[in-house]
Symmetry: C2
Subunit: 237 residues, 2 copies
DNA sequence: ACATCCAATAACGTATACATTAGCGTACGC
DNA sequence: GCGTACGCTAATGTATACGTTATTGGATGT
């Protein structure tokens, strides 16, 4: 019998199926999104069979997707207790921000060395402007999206696939914590200015400057976030 | 029937089996080692069934191990052509060294901030001394092992699990290229001195100095390696 | 009432079955 | 001789089967 099965429960939308022909991909994308969007919050547990049933497939593709998600640090798979959505502790966030600081500033440096033309820098400036607009409109979600867009663009321009993937993984792990703390921090005014500063250094081809500027930006952001986690006693997110 | 199967071919030693109770782990460790040791050189291809037969297990654990190795960039799995041991191009090496530079210098910085006592620094000094000894004895394999040991220790002391894993993956990818080029480069005399320098900065608690020293060390190493790849036209390793 | 031991159960790890489909060889037409 | 279409084979993706074993609940003894 095909993927339809005998009397399969189709409890997910068709949209996810379109993503790729493979059930493993479907399972991976669906589960990853549920975790990032906090639909399956930290500590959420489910057995392979339950997941298979919910996703409308057999255990096999679910297992293979879980292996990937475990490698990425999103879940833990404990033999007789199913998967477990991993909480992110303050220490984890420290580690994540150390990685992001190291990798993203290197990305900024690499982009500066490449001396991109004005057209190439446009997406970065657009993202910065979107941040300012969102800030004026007091739309923090919008601001976070634009911020994320800026960082993604910057890293993508580094041309280092390894680095791009590693940073993406860090963002994934940190996503929930960023969202939760969004309303707890002071207005993120400095961020926009710091982004601009990084773009300026890149435009000037000042690799070291871009590196240092972005490093400072990330270090400040990390300190700020950790301070909030401590102040609000947020041990796990 | 148990893992023994009906008339299974036991073509691997028993040693690999001891590693862990799980066949997936066995498959992973065995295949990873074969790739790192160039027993399965870049471009080596094999079908899931062939691998299963050779490892004395069914396709299932082999597939699960392959997923992990694909995530780690060691192999590629092409639907009808089995797995393919990925070659590492000069561009890949550039990317890898950029990552290593960013992450290891951060590790050096973190270790310095931690202000380790003399006893904690001993392993690093031992590794450095082992490098000097190997160099005097003209034993490059020994030197490479000691060098690797130094870097591993340093990174391990950072206390950042994420960073440790990412660096380990970079080393895995670069391993073959390092081994092949070992005899092509000038005597790696500066490396030892540079390592000592990093240890000195760490002992002084000079985080920035340790960071910069290690960064310079890695940048030089990367430049040197890339130059060799170019000089000898080593497109793929 | 509490700790301990045992049996039933259920979840997993692994093996196997099976339908699908890409790739390849062959036969045919030009 | 060369290009194209067709059918076969084989490798995969997924489903299912099955033995092993941790866990859990209860029974038993103190």
């Amino acid at each position: 019998m095909s993927a339809g099965g005998t009397s399969r429960v189709r409890s997910i939308g068709r949209a996810e199926l379109a993503a790729s022909g493979s059930l493993v991909e479907t399972a991976y994308h669906t589960m990853r999104r549920r975790i990032l969007d906090n639909v399956w919050p930290p500590g959420y547990r489910a057995l392979e069979q339950e997941l298979a049933l919910e996703l409308g497939m057999s255990r096999t593709p679910v297992r293979e997707a879980l292996i990937r998600m475990q490698n990425e640090g999103l879940v833990e798979v404990v033999p007789r207790h199913g998967m477990n959505v991993l909480p992110v502790s303050a220490e984890d966030m420290r580690d994540i921000y150390q990685m992001l600081t190291a990798l993203e500033s290197t990305a900024a440096e690499l982009v500066a060395l490449r001396r991109p033309c004005a057209a190439e820098l446009k997406p970065l400036q657009d993202a910065s402007r979107a941040m300012m607009r969102a800030l004026r409109a007091d739309d923090l979600e919008q601001w976070a999206a634009a911020d994320e867009s800026f960082h993604q663009q910057l890293v993508a321009m580094s041309g280092n696939r390894l680095l791009i993937d590693a940073v993406q993984n860090c963002w994934d792990r940190a996503h929930r914590a960023r969202m939760v703390t969004l309303r707890m921090r002071p207005k993120p005014t400095p961020s926009t200015r710091e982004h601009m500063e990084v773009v300026d250094r890149i435009r000037e081809g000042d690799a070291r400057g871009a590196f240092e500027a972005h490093r400072a930006h990330r270090e400040r952001g990390g300190r700020e976030l950790l301070a909030i986690l401590e102040r609000f006693r947020l041990k796990n997110l």
